[in-house]
């Protein structure tokens, strides 16, 4: 069998020309070319994944597909996936940011989805809908303001989590070691054997800074919880109540 190179958008792909009948071979050639162009490169495979996603959306409805995507993202282990992703792509802050986003977006999505689902059946939403409010207006101006407490608390928790994960990834050497950060200081401390050499002043301060930052952000979170949920506020003692009343 002779082979011929077809130059397509993704580069050259060899196809085998089957012998004999001209009409069918032409059809086969066209189909084979399309097939090869479609599958020749991994980047095209990504494109086909996106196309497949939209097909699924068309078949099952966007709600089902998005929910499935969120749940699957939630169940895959975050740190191992982050390590594998960060290991294969060029090192740097952009890679780490994208990797952390990719592995951790689903938690907050799930929380807000549950909350919005419970808000959807409340009376003020029904009232807004019967007034003829558009859907996006209801979402952003009626439902969302009631969820601000969760969103802000989630933002602070995510910040803590990102700081810890970033330091962990840097510590493992998966970040750019030349860019200074608390995690990379710990990485170089480990490489230089600071632990075995007793050089405590090298690895104690960065860790302490991360711990203090984390503790501070947690306290901010408690404060936000108190503002958002009045039940958690401390009751004023009788002395203070008298002062307030006077």
């Amino acid at each position: 069998m002779q082979t011929q190179e077809i130059i397509g958008p993704m580069g050259a792909a060899p196809i085998a020309l089957p012998p004999t009948d001209p009409f069918y071979t032409r059809i086969q050639r066209v189909l084979l070319t399309i097939w090869h162009a479609f599958t020749a490169s991994p980047r095209v495979a990504v494109g086909s994944a996106i196309v497949g996603f939209f097909i699924l959306v068309g078949l099952f409805g966007p709600l089902f597909v998005l929910t499935l995507l969120t749940n699957v993202s939630l169940v895959l282990p975050a740190l191992p996936l982050a390590i594998v992703l960060a290991a294969y792509f060029p090192r740097g802050p952009l890679t780490i940011s994208l990797v952390i986003v990719f592995t951790n977006w689903s938690w907050q999505a799930r929380v807000l989805r549950a909350q919005t689902l419970s808000m959807r059946s409340r009376e003020f939403v029904t009232a807004a809908r019967s007034c003829g409010e558009r859907a996006w207006r209801i979402i952003f101006f009626e439902i969302f303001p009631n969820e601000i407490g969760i969103v802000v608390a989630g933002y602070v928790s995510t910040t803590i989590y990102v700081v810890l994960t970033w330091a962990a990834l840097e510590f493992l050497g998966l970040g750019d070691g030349t860019i200074p950060s608390w995690g990379s200081i710990l990485y170089w401390a480990q490489q230089a054997g600071a632990l075995g050499g007793g050089l405590w002043w090298w690895f104690v301060p960065p860790g302490a800074c991360i711990a203090i930052l984390g503790a501070g952000l947690s306290l901010i979170n408690f404060g936000i919880d108190e503002i958002a949920d009045p039940r958690l506020r401390k009751e004023l003692s009788p002395k203070k109540l008298r002062k307030v009343a006077a």
């Binding site: 493992l172 075995g196 711990a211």
Partner: protein, 333 residues
């Protein structure tokens, strides 16, 4: 029954996504793994073009097959349990190395999770029962503080204090003292294993204790306001009996699913623990493979970790459906 079916389908989908990700990530990444491998080997000696070809063929990196054919061949290999050969420990198969390491991870993680679960639940029950007592006011904020400390810093600190300064525990890695002790059911071996595993287990227990305790405490506080607890008290049952047989039994539900998930996380290989303490488990294997650019190993270990976590989550779902019948009737989110 419908609920179980839905969960099975969901986990099948998640497994497929994990396998596909595991296949595509190395191939999507820029750079050429053969070049990296050749670069590594040329530090040990000259690499002829013929050797390069053999290496590429060995690791399946030279096929001009389309990506779909490679994908299905990968799936076929997986079904046969063939995860490829490790580059660092060539030609040992990846599956064999994982088999050796996973035992240590399971032992370390299993012991740590059981201890921290038991202690955490006990503390949670007691602090909820005697809310605002001295024990509660000291323990709850202390636990909050402990859980906020970044784990690997706690690990580094404990290694420094207990291994370097006080010399109670070994500083270098390993699972037992390979120089002086032979494996076997001798007191020496068991003692050595405990000595090497003590610090990692201690840091794991300290960092996860707070989570168990606070969840248990919150869930107990909600349960204690239920009517049946009031009824039990009205019947005149002893405090201990109410605390354990009535309240704790119902309050422990969220923690039980958390426990099953934590078991999954063990095989997830307490990555940071093993990396800081150089404990030869599956997390350390992943760490070394990433450092040495042993692509076959990275893929294999990641796949095993993901499958184990998914399996544990599945068991947790089934366990929860068994323990709490209300779940079977509700629509799953």
């Amino acid at each position: 029954m419908r609920h179980i079916l839905r969960r099975i389908l969901f986990y099948a989908c998640a497994i497929w996504v994990a396998i596909t990700l595991d296949f595509f990530i190395p191939r999507l990444a820029p750079g050429d793994p053969v070049a990296a491998l050749v670069g590594k080997m040329s530090t040990k000696g000259y690499v002829t073009p013929a050797m390069q070809q053999t290496l590429a063929a060995e690791f399946g990196l030279n096929t001009h097959d389309s990506i779909l054919v490679q994908y299905f061949r990968y799936l076929g290999n997986l079904l046969h349990g063939n995860l490829g050969n490790s580059i660092q420990y060539f030609p040992t198969p990846v599956f064999q190395i994982i088999g050796q390491d996973i035992g240590w991870s399971l032992m370390l993680g299993g012991v740590a999770v059981i201890i921290s679960f038991t202690l955490g639940c006990l503390f949670g029950i007691i602090t909820a029962w005697k809310r605002s007592s001295l024990l509660d006011t000291i323990l709850s904020p202390a636990m909050n503080f402990l859980s906020a400390i970044p784990y690997f810093w706690l690990a580094l600190l404990s290694l420094f204090i207990f291994a370097y300064l006080l010399n109670w525990f070994p500083l270098t890695g390993g699972s037992y003292d390979a120089i002086n002790v032979d494996p076997g059911w001798s007191l020496d071996y068991i003692g050595s294993v405990i000595q090497y595993a003590f610090l990692p287990a201690l840091t794991l227990v300290i960092s996860s204790l707070a989570g168990w305790m606070l969840t248990m405490r919150n869930s107990m506080i909600t349960t204690l306001s239920e009517d049946y607890v009031l009824m039990a008290r009205a019947k005149g049952l002893s405090e201990g009996r109410i605390m354990f047989r009535y309240a704790a039994r119902n309050a422990i539900l969220p923690n039980i699913t958390g426990f099953a998930i934590a078991i999954g996380a063990i095989v997830g290989g307490q990555l940071l623990t093993e990396m800081v303490f150089s404990y030869p488990g599956i997390g350390y294997a992943l760490f070394q493979a990433v450092g040495e650019q042993d692509y076959a190993m990275v893929q294999g270990v990641f796949l095993i970790i993901t499958l184990a976590v998914l399996g544990a989550n599945f068991l947790a779902d089934m366990l929860y459906a068994f323990l709490d019948p209300r779940v079977r009737v509700e629509r799953s989110a």
